[in-house]
């Protein structure tokens, strides 16, 4: 595969366009400048994680005796926890409307939303297949240009939808995220099932 095909594949798997509404709902309580900063920082943290997994992913998972299905199921479960908090977040707004929420840091945006189990697994498989490590690193960096661009664009969506629109959207996005996360759990369980019965 060429650098560009790999980069495109990684961009599609990271799926920043699809998860932008989720990111917006997670950071909607901060002011605009801060939101842009958070989005950028999370993109960089996700990049760091992706590069880490390219070079050390296999060693790391082997050392801790973790199998691929565990990565998938864990990603799903953590995302599901995020989804639940999004769906049931309306209680907070009534009681502690002005209370400052804790800023999302590393979890859940950088991982598992952007650098999720799918992306990390793909990177690990590619690093086994391609002997040229430099090429894969270039591809990851190349993929991250649009990823970062899309993510830092996310705060502008708030200007379009407005605060109220986003509050309504948060629950909808929570539902969608819940489905996505369950999909991961189901996939991981299927992998576990195969590991047991074959």
């Amino acid at each position: 595969m060429s650098v560009f095909t790999i980069a495109l594949t990684l961009f599609i798997i990271a799926n920043p366009i699809g998860v932008t509404p989720v990111i917006v709902s997670l950071i909607k309580d901060f002011d605009f400048k801060r939101q842009r900063f958070i989005a950028f920082r999370e993109a960089m943290l996700a990049l760091f994680l992706a590069l880490f997994f390219q070079y050390f992913g296999e060693v790391f998972l082997n050392a801790l005796q973790i199998k691929p299905f565990a990565v998938t199921i864990t990603g799903g479960l953590l995302l599901f926890a995020v989804a639940l908090s999004m769906i049931f977040s309306f209680h907070e707004s009534t009681e502690e409307a002005k209370q400052v929420k804790q800023e999302p840091f590393f979890v859940p945006i950088a991982t598992p939303i952007i650098s999720g189990p799918g992306l990390l697994a793909t990177i690990m498989i590619l690093s086994q297949r391609e002997n040229n490590n430099f090429k894969l690193t270039m591809a990851i960096l190349l993929a991250w240009i649009p990823v970062t661009a899309v993510m830092t664009f996310a705060p502008y969506l708030q200007k379009i939808f407005g605060k109220r629109g986003l509050a309504g959207m948060e629950q909808l996005m929570g539902m969608i995220l819940a489905l996505l996360s369950m999909e991961l759990v189901v996939k991981g369980t299927a992998m576990l099932y195969h590991a047991i019965y074959t």
Binding site: L45, V71, T74
Partner: protein, 202 residues
């Protein structure tokens, strides 16, 4: 020592170290010993860490026979380890206001809260007991506890430097990484328990 045993030792050490979560406790530790002078600080730290170690080892030896006595099956123990580790991971990843870390008492720490529950919390004690039951080798678990304890001790000794060079955000990122790795291990252990269950019943 066979390779299998040394990897198990490594995994156990990592698990215990992450449940002790020294990186996450740095901020609490520093605020607890804030008013004390340097010499007193090290003394307090040494005392608290020793208490934590003794407590953990005590529960480790308790675990050697209590589950056999209660006739709890191996599958249950394995699955419980997964559940407990996952709960610890969730607590690290999604912190809430009721945690002991958010409500630190004033004054010099004695046993509570630094030794117990910040370092040797209920989840660490439970995990240690379960593993002591699971591992056939008598010394593997205490060995892992001791190495993890040394590592946490080192982290606490280096706490002021770590906070200065990594900053609060760096520490937070490290802690979240800890949480993710714990969650991964938790799911893996849970799955291994299920695997046992299915192979034993089919």
């Amino acid at each position: 020592m066979t390779t299998n045993e040394s990897t198990t030792l490594f995994t156990l050490t990592v698990i215990f170290f992450f449940i002790m979560d020294p990186v996450g406790n740095i901020a609490s530790y520093l605020s607890l010993v804030q008013g004390l002078d340097k010499k007193r600080r090290y003394l307090v730290l040494l005392r608290e860490m020793l208490i934590a170690l003794v407590t953990t080892l005590l529960f480790c030896f308790l675990g050697e026979f209590i589950f056999k006595f209660l006739e709890i099956s191996e599958v249950t123990v394995r699955v419980s380890i997964g559940v407990i580790l996952f709960l610890v991971a969730v607590k690290i990843l999604f912190p809430n206001k009721d945690s002991p870390r958010a409500n630190l008492p004033k004054g010099e720490p004695f046993i509570v809260p630094l030794a117990i529950p910040l370092v040797a919390g209920p989840s660490l004690l439970a995990t240690v007991m379960l593993y002591a039951d699971l591992e056939p080798s008598l010394w593997l678990v205490p060995e892992a506890i001791f190495i993890a304890w040394l590592a946490s001790f080192a982290v606490f000794l280096a706490a002021p430097f770590l906070q200065r060079y990594l900053g609060n955000n760096g520490l937070l990122a490290l802690e979240k990484l800890t949480g993710i790795i714990l969650a991964l291990i938790a799911v893996q252990k849970f799955a291994e328990g299920l695997h046992r269950f299915f192979t034993a019943n089919s």
